[in-house]
Symmetry: C2
Subunit: 246 residues, 2 copies
């Protein structure tokens, strides 16, 4: 038995998210379908670093699975890519010890979020960024973003539906790159709660338009109440960029 | 009655091309549907600079139509964009004299063609470029491309189905920009036959992989026979970039 780790990219547009559901097309579903075919109809469970929601993309999702097959690394990559649909691509494959677990061994993640500021919509980016055609004050946003750095209880910035007990997380980096007509947010932390990145971005954009003061962020964190934070930004702007391991 | 000219961008992925068909979603179909709604159920015919095929994109398609409505320019743009689907965007609107015709007044066009050279496919570019994971000799391609410049009979480089009588066209510019993992071809001419750009690109790529000699292009042109040219490159890599008028 060998444990195989893969780095996977996918275009989330036509997926109901990563995790298998009773109905609908999912990334895990497509991966397991191919593995089942390769293992004579036997189910091979695939474990990911975490789920991604409907329409959320991945540039560096990490998964693992165990297999008795005797294939060389290059052939694993070729066999998987040959059978997977075109909106999923295996970027890298490696053999890992059995102590490795895509989810439990992860020590951090980086997400990117693309915001399109152009007045007119862009048909080519409609599924790949959040169209936000308003004037934003990037300086004010940066002042607000600063308050997220460090270790906080992120209850205010997680879905009210979340049932996780411990909502303390650490953000190590939170940056925004200004491009022509576009903002790219980059956020890195030791872990993220359900909808956390999207609520953070939604709130930071409200700081950008002047709807909120940058210093309000600190108070929202203290309140531990989802209702005091901003809107959840749409999934199509979000990219799981990288998963970190020891 | 006013004649209105629009510059239109569309993501061709989910269209069966520009022109209205008996079945299937088309760009013209979507445009006329919106105009009909704005004109109390009256059909408003839309004229384009030319058709684009299934999956072909446009960054600067030009259309015109006539309307008795008394709307200001900005309001035309807003009204159309508000009702059009997200994969079509009106970039620019202007009033033109009745002598203007999107197709017959055009004096030239520029197309771009994107080729992805990366070994691994890219899920995000699957609908926006031609994945061609082979080593290509760009110098040889440039040598071949040179033979297309000027005025030639392009019968060899047009669909065998084409019924147009006069197949003489002039290419003023044919360039290739090398980017990381990608080639972008830019071709400008006074007009293009059915499938012409895609057959030219398919043939130039065969020069790139060494399957054909750069000097063969001249002979293929002389033969006036579709069978002597290369494969038709796929539609998803092609972009109607600009239409020129006096």
């Amino acid at each position: 038995m060998k444990r195989i780790k893969c780095i996977v990219a996918y275009d989330g547009t036509n997926f109901l998210g990563y995790q298998i559901q009773n109905q609908g097309r999912t990334v895990q579903g497509e991966l397991e379908k191919v593995l089942k075919r390769m293992h004579k109809g036997e189910r091979v469970p695939v474990y990911a670093s975490g789920r991604t929601d409907t329409h959320v993309h991945a540039l560096g999702q990490v998964i693992h699975f165990d297999s008795p097959l005797d294939l060389r690394l290059e052939n694993w990559q070729k066999a998987l890519n040959a059978q997977l649909p075109e909106d999923i691509s295996i970027l890298h494959v490696e053999f890992v010890p059995e102590t490795f677990h895509a989810r439990y061994s992860s020590i951090g993640k980086e997400y990117h979020y693309r915001v399109l500021l152009k007045k007119e919509r862009d048909p080519f980016l409609r599924n790949y960024s959040y169209h936000f055609p308003y004037d934003v004050d990037v300086k004010a946003m940066r002042a607000g973003m600063y308050h997220f750095l460090g270790t906080h209880d992120f209850t205010s910035f997680s879905s009210a539906k979340s049932t996780v007990e411990n909502r303390v997380r650490t953000i190590n980096r939170f940056d925004v790159i200004e491009m022509e007509d576009e903002l790219q947010f980059q956020i890195r932390g030791n872990g993220f709660l359900y909808n956390m990145v999207r609520i953070i971005i939604g709130t930071v954009l409200e700081v950008g338009t002047g709807k909120r003061d940058p210093n309000e962020i600190e108070k929202i964190l203290e309140r531990k109440d989802r209702a005091s934070a901003g809107k959840t930004a749409p999934g199509c702007g979000l990219y799981l960029y990288k998963v970190f391991y020891e």
